[in-house]
Symmetry: D2
Subunit: 367 residues, 4 copies
């Protein structure tokens, strides 16, 4: 009831941080798609920790294997099981540590909900859970690209209070994003963000940030009103990611300050169909894609694991002082970039398959 | 695939603005709950347009009738059909108007998606669609209140750039909220908001705003990681509402600017269980309620229907000028208050029933 | 979780025997289908009791009204709410009767499951619940007929131990079926069945029977292995009907006595594609339709309401004697014919929409 | 949409006959259950081919590994991934064979549905797909046994036209069933069945059969009317198994020949609750378990793979003669026994979790 997303392209993820492996089953992938591990690995590698000295130094190989659902390099239309073995497969009993729920982690709530929890590494609330999402999303993305030329590009638009200038959403590319380690395509802002993260790291503290994502060449007509409106499904997908606290689309929270005459997007002729002059709607009207770029933002809270000592209480209510040992990632947003892209792809493919069931043959890309 | 929400408390809404009626079927309501129309009507009346001279003057009676699922004033555990007859049941063919997709409305996307659309009134994208949600939500809310003493209170926290001061989330009540027509509990801010809406109305324009909502006495353990985390489901529910552009929870977008040492919520003893000293998490950790108040915000864009003339194109690409006739609601947020509350109730009851299936008898309220 | 069937063509039924009304919401009906009440009423009328002196004399008008989802006689692709008002809307408190669970009815299990039950008329286990199914099925059937020329015909193939000779499944029509009141197309058998039912009626007893159904012109490729194989979904649909005890398809239980060399269906060229020489498979191989007629049988137990006195116990365990008063339907199978057809249509349309999502434009009918 | 079963205990299977592995993800297993591979392996071993000279001699090790969802031998309430590596992982291109759809196999329908199919071994229609079901079912069964003392026992009740005498459904045990290789507990019948299978084997032919299954100590109240009635879900589960053609419950098809006065099950006092004197209902009334043993039958067609030469056509319509080489299992029913038990367990646990969400604490076993 909880680890599956989507109806026609259904992804079920599995795995804790310290079990034998993590991954996903993709049920409903269209048949006949060329697919090997090489199509999936790049996004997994972008997601991997240890890509720079700004993130956690753990070296996780994260090599994915396709266990089922393909033959001779093509999908069969049957479930695709994707597995990444965990390097560290020993759950540890942290002794007295295990009696201390870490502030703003999931220790307390998992223990209360399930009456048991993974003894170490955060279990399902670990960032490793997102491996299955990214693997499944890479397949979705390939199909969207081949079928509609859909392009999905996310980037770091804020670290703490450092905000990037608006990006050119018609042009921004992953190459451009990855040209900066911090994944903010604006070099000057990237430099300031990098400096900020170093400061935070030195202070044994952490910081939050914002990831912005654009989806181009999304066919008109995706989204299933009223409860599966496109923005509703995107919001669910993004808020299901660890450490997220907010989502907005198009003009978002800032748009609430505008008047209708400023905010309305007038229609204009674009090629053989209609587009809009402005895009305050963010590519979605009435819960359905209108062919304009879909643009949304995701808020990530500061990482909860910090080296600074914190006073809290254990499960028995006894006051204790807690300070994380070792190095930890002080800011998740650079690594979150491919994860956000993957979640967007998972939503878009599911909505596209729904729309194909409704009007076969007419689902052409505008313009 | 689209007009149903929830798994164990499943709501299916139906109805266009100008068909015979609108409403919902609630499948999975716990049996034995005392229920008559009188439990549902108050929230429907709060949702109704025409409650003040600030909103649209249409008088919609919106009297709900329970058609099934109860007997002698108690729920049977079977589907509850809730019906509100439409007063205006004549779909109209607007003639040439029907060839003009209104800017930032759903005319264009519905036409493209379905190849047909309701000729008038916005069809399913009409605000009338929310009647079924509010009716279903009122039942959910009653059960939550009786079972867990859960309290759900929403209010207008911003109109355009006028923001209300922080509310006392432990105390704020619907009575307090409704004491101001604008549903902002702070009288001074309410006055400024009211003035702003009058200005906008006079200018034949519209404005956006923000609704904030708190849910108190939510039992620990609600939310189904990883894809049905509580905040993910709330985000989906809110972004499925007409005119919404954003959702954040707890510290939200503002929290991304904080450091981890500021943002972490240390645990403290509260009664016989643990609570947190601060509540930047917004009542949710790891996707699961932690017993603290759940607090979130929803962004509503400025109303798209405005009296100011707009230049746009018709479906054939011909330039036309469009100006809405008659009076329209220049700001939806006051009426959105009970709708947001209802959607929260729908999510919470579904998650509560899930958790009851897992650990029956242990779903105790903290403290 | 229980009153909805289907994923892309989702039907939610509502209503008890003695509430205000019964009906269904159809979510996911393809847009643009011509539809008025006149398309639905014929099957409802075939389902209605009181069509002959062999069935219960209650005259239920069962006039359906479309409340939403259509405009100017065409479907909008939005939820279609179908409502039939109940004539007898007064739940009755049967006094001491209510403390006696009727043998082989649902009184005991509903009371134990929900802790409450409809005081009279069987509540959701009443045959009136099938009204919503038949209405929703009539719409499905129309779409299947227009899209694939699909024909669905059911008939009474056994009453008690009186079995009809095999029908010509390539030709049998509803006209032929309805030419006999008992809905067994073979006149001689129909006469014997009619006589049997009169005997049973005179004896204040009841009898069971079998309905056989054929679906012709079902496109190749319907069914979603492995859990939603076409026969699995048909079996669920049929066993969800009141009073059903069995389902088999193709050779069914009798086929278990054959050898593989007898039972295998060799392929032959049929038109431009392949068909099979025999059809022991019943139109389904590997859970997927193969283009041959789908043929299945549904077992209906003898009606539980009988006038003969039965010794049983009340909820307190006290021995009582029970005998139903008034006239009751001694055999459900004639009225079950349109209900079985409707359930078949609901399964086929849902599977067809799934397959359309997978291979748009290629879902052509064989031959 | 197709490889997942269940809502609260959701099983997703994956794997083809010749890919890297087969298995399942179980999402929603109650937390805190003691679980290791040793709890799962016995049923997998009962399912395994090559257990006697009556079945295919292939030796499949079928060793299961738990990849996630447990720690220190207890379930965490998180997804449990169960993997069995395939020994034969090389898909083969059969050359001209691949252009011949085998009669009564899934070659033709898979090819037509997906436009591609596994080149050998039957892909998802292979019996190996059931490994994931059996592994997931073993976990379900353990929980049901520990929670309700539920016992599920299936056996071979017919091979071809050889039928076993009625079993003592209150007493029959797996030990008794497994005391005969053929898994028919009646020794005399077992001997005749064995002789029949040898005959069929010698004739390079195959035969069908029937598996009967009883579920004892099923709590009252399981089943979710109207579409997820217990018998409906059981029917779907059983008809989703390869080679099944029929399902009936309680009196089943034979019961249609009885009169209501014979067939009704009068209530009697049993311990502190009510039971029924007879059990024609098969443990289910109104779609809900009544506490009596649930008893149902599943029809399995004769195995389609036979050594006898068959005339058929290839995909191009050219007449060819086909004869399977090597040894094949001439009758699936002995191996189907644990598979049927597993499917029953999957349905029962899902329904039990639903009922727990409704009336926590009251789901008591009768008597």
């Amino acid at each position: 009831m909880s680890s599956s997303l989507g109806t026609l392209y259904k992804v079920t993820t599995f795995g804790e941080s310290h079990c034998k492996g993590v991954g996903a089953v993709v049920d409903g992938c269209p048949p006949g798609l060329e697919l090997t591990e090489a199509d999936i690995q790049p996004q997994l590698s972008r997601r991997r920790p240890g890509q720079s000295d700004l993130s956690t130094p753990r070296q996780e190989a994260d090599q994915v294997t396709i266990y089922s659902g393909t033959e001779f390099g093509r999908t069969l239309g049957t479930p695709i099981m994707l597995l990444v073995h965990n390097r560290d497969q020993r759950p540890q009993d942290y002794g007295e540590m295990s009696n201390i729920p870490r502030p703003s982690h999931a220790d307390f709530t998992y223990q209360m909900k399930y009456g048991i929890r993974a003894s170490s590494g955060g279990g399902r609330s670990s960032a490793r859970e997102t491996i299955g999402r990214v693997a499944a999303g890479a397949i979705a993305e390939k199909w969207l690209r081949e079928t509609y030329a859909t392009e999905i590009v996310a980037w770091v638009s804020a670290v703490g209070d450092i905000e990037a200038p608006p990006a050119d959403i018609e042009q921004i590319s992953r190459t451009e994003v990855d040209s900066q380690t911090i994944r903010c395509p604006d070099p000057a802002t990237a430099a300031r963000m990098t400096a900020r993260i170093r400061e935070v790291l030195d202070a044994k503290d952490s910081t939050g940030g914002v990831v912005t994502c654009v989806c181009r060449n999304v066919p008109v007509g995706l989204g299933e009103p009223v409860f599966d409106k496109l923005e509703a499904r995107l919001a669910q997908a993004m808020l299901s990611l660890p450490a997220t606290k907010g989502f907005d689309i198009g003009s978002g929270f800032a748009g609430t300050r505008l008047s209708g005459s400023q905010h309305n997007d007038p229609f204009i002729q674009k090629g053989t169909t209609l587009g809009t002059r402005t895009n305050y709607s963010g590519g979605v009207q009435g819960g359905i894609s209108n062919g304009e770029p879909i643009i949304f933002r995701v808020a990530f809270k500061p990482v909860a694991t910090i080296g600074i000592a914190q006073e809290t209480v254990d499960f028995d209510g006894k006051t204790v002082t807690l300070a994380a040992k070792g190095r930890h990632d002080p800011c998740v947003v650079p690594r979150a970039v491919p994860i956000v892209e993957s979640m967007a792809a998972l939503v878009l493919i599911d909505m596209a398959l729904h729309q194909r069931s409704r009007r076969p043959g007419t689902l052409d890309l505008r313009g």
